[in-house]
């Protein structure tokens, strides 16, 4: 058993580094996903993750596949979108969803265009679908920094931020500007989406935020407990992706997302916090 499940990570440094990258991103991404869901902003997360692509693409056009420059480009682009989506939500009402969808489709197209004009389709694929297996030290340092920044910042702003999520009126009544906390939070989202891009690519990076959060919501109501347990979901899925790639020659990114999807389906049925099965059992119970 040890040989099959653990040995690969001991024998091969790249397996260990890939898993380490997953552990680092798992610490914060699901937590941010939870708050995105609480704030009903999953789609904004999606829009930002796609908007990072043209930024990354410009970085790529300038300096090739350099972690630092592509990250910088992605960060600038992501921050721009926060500002833009702020405008969108202020000036449109019902149409907000479609405006964001239009926006991220344009970003995606723009990003792909910029990369295609500057290099090969092969680099494009590694940007879209990530390169978990080639995570290097530079990338691990970046992931660690993002994780550290996110944890420290969230600890500092936790009280007003959580109140802003749950009861924005409370802050307004007490003359506290909740908007600042919102902006800080969105910047953390951008940073973590960039971390996700380094591991599983821009197309599915948002999956590391939203999917584990959606899964844990089906089991727990307690936010703090959810934040503490949700990293496990990401680690398990990434582990599955790496092991499947190691033994069955599969690409890692789709397996990771599919593993998360499977966990989500299971949770929809079995989840103790709103799972279909328990609702059914309760109905039966009432009937008899």
């Amino acid at each position: 058993m040890y040989e099959i499940l653990i040995q690969p990570f001991v024998e091969y440094g790249f397996m260990f580094k890939s898993l380490l990258g997953c552990v680092l991103i798992s610490l914060c991404a699901p937590m941010l996903g939870l708050f995105l869901i609480l704030k009903k902003m999953s789609l904004t997360g999606d829009a930002i993750s796609h908007a990072i692509l043209p930024g990354v693409a410009i970085g790529y056009a300038v300096a090739g596949l350099s972690v630092t420059i592509m990250t910088l480009g992605g960060f600038i682009a992501g921050s721009l979108v926060i500002v833009l989506s702020g405008f969108v939500s202020r000036y449109t009402k019902k149409g907000e969803d479609s405006a964001l969808a239009v926006f991220y489709l344009i970003s995606l197209a723009l990003g792909i265009l910029i990369i295609s004009l500057n290099g090969s389709n092969i680099d494009l694929l590694s940007i879209l679908f990530g390169s978990l297996l080639t995570i290097n030290d530079e990338c691990l340092i970046l992931l660690s920094s993002i994780t550290l920044i996110t944890i420290v910042t969230m600890l500092v702003i936790r009280r007003p931020f959580i109140i802003d999520c749950i009861d924005p009126d409370f802050l307004i009544h007490n003359d506290i500007n909740g908007h600042h906390y919102h902006i800080i939070f969105m910047i953390l989202v951008v940073l973590n989406l960039i971390a996700g891009f380094q591991t599983i690519g821009t197309l599915m990076a948002v999956g590391l935020l939203i999917l584990p959060a959606a899964i844990i919501r089906l089991w727990l109501n307690n936010i703090v407990l959810s934040c503490l347990i949700s990293p496990l979901i990401v680690i398990i899925s990434c582990y599955c992706g790496l092991i499947a790639s190691f033994y069955y020659n599969y690409p890692t990114t789709p397996i990771i997302i599919l593993a998360l999807g499977l966990l989500y389906l299971i949770s929809v049925f079995l989840g103790t916090n709103g799972g279909i099965l328990w609702k059914y059992v309760r109905l039966k119970h009432l009937d008899s």
Partner: protein
């Protein structure tokens, strides 16, 4: 000037002038022969052979990846305007089957004793100097068929060009034969040097396949690491057309080191290896130096 000095009846003079302009216009037309090649290597061979008698355009540029290429509308326009389209063949340009004027296509690698990989022909014939003659002859033959007037010149150019390759091949063959066989093994970024390996008795283990498949699984990476550890491979070569991430990963996990950057499928401006001859020379030299210094 000459025409004026010759005293001839008017109509002969005009006939003479007419003939002269005819030949002039023929010549300018011949110089304007349009050749489109699919990559920079073929463009350089073509330009060596045709000299100043052709305008040559390469679809894939310097240092660019050739396998994932797909023609843009502007490329299709170039192909339409071309008098000759010089392609490598052997499935390197799969998209060629979709264009209209297939009769203009010349398969430059035709006649090479090909290597089969997973049931497909390996397209990378150009990377062995033993195949240079075939490429040169095929292109000279195609140019002759298009402009017979300059055929002798093309054949002359081709023969001189082939001679330089023959000298290069002999020189390196001797050097490589003198190397101990256990030194002649290395990792390459993609499977581009199968012909070179065959002709110079080298073992190359590629990270990516013949067509630069995109996603490398953990299994493949682990197998390569295992091979390096078990067979004691010391050298890893990177390439001008692909990224170096996997190669870097391998140097961290094994005792092998990067032995240099090979120019595989496109000529390189960044390494100033901008002719086919320089490329073959540069690659053979780089590999030889890495092998002879490997301990």
């Amino acid at each position: 000037m000459e025409i004026r000095s010759i005293k001839t009846p008017g109509f002969i003079k005009s006939l003479f002038i007419a003939l002269l302009t005819l030949s002039v216009s023929f010549e300018s037309k011949a110089e304007d022969i349009n050749i489109v090649t699919t990559n920079t290597i073929l463009a350089d061979i073509t330009s060596e052979v045709t000299g100043k008698h052709a305008v040559i355009y390469s679809l894939v540029g310097y240092d660019e990846e050739v396998h994932a290429f797909n023609p843009k509308p502007s490329d299709l326009k170039k192909l339409k305007e071309a008098d000759i389209i010089i392609a490598n063949g052997k499935n390197l340009e799969g998209w060629l089957s979709r264009i209209d004027d297939k009769n203009k296509i010349v398969e430059a690698s035709k006649g090479i004793k090909s290597i089969k990989k997973d049931g497909y022909e390996d397209p990378h014939g150009w990377n062995s100097p033993y195949n240079a003659n075939i490429y040169i002859d095929n292109i000279a033959y195609a140019a002759c068929a298009k402009i017979p007037a300059y055929c002798n010149e093309f054949k002359d150019n081709a023969n001189k060009y082939k001679q330089t390759f023959n000298e290069l091949t002999i020189k390196y063959k001797q050097l490589y034969d003198a190397l101990p066989q256990e030194n002649k093994k290395a990792i390459t970024a993609h499977d581009a040097f199968g012909y070179l390996a065959r002709d110079f008795e080298i073992t190359f283990i590629p990270i990516k396949g013949v067509n630069e498949e995109t996603e490398i699984s953990a299994q493949i990476l682990a197998q390569i690491i295992k091979q390096i550890r078990e067979s004691g491979i010391k050298v890893i070569f990177i390439e001008n057309i692909s990224n170096t991430h996997f190669a870097e990963q391998l140097t961290k996990e094994t005792s092998a080191t990067i032995g240099g950057e090979l120019i595989s499928d496109s000529l390189s401006k960044k390494n100033s290896v901008d002719t086919y001859y320089k490329m073959v020379d540069y690659n053979l030299k780089t590999v030889y130096e890495a092998f002879s210094s490997a301990k």
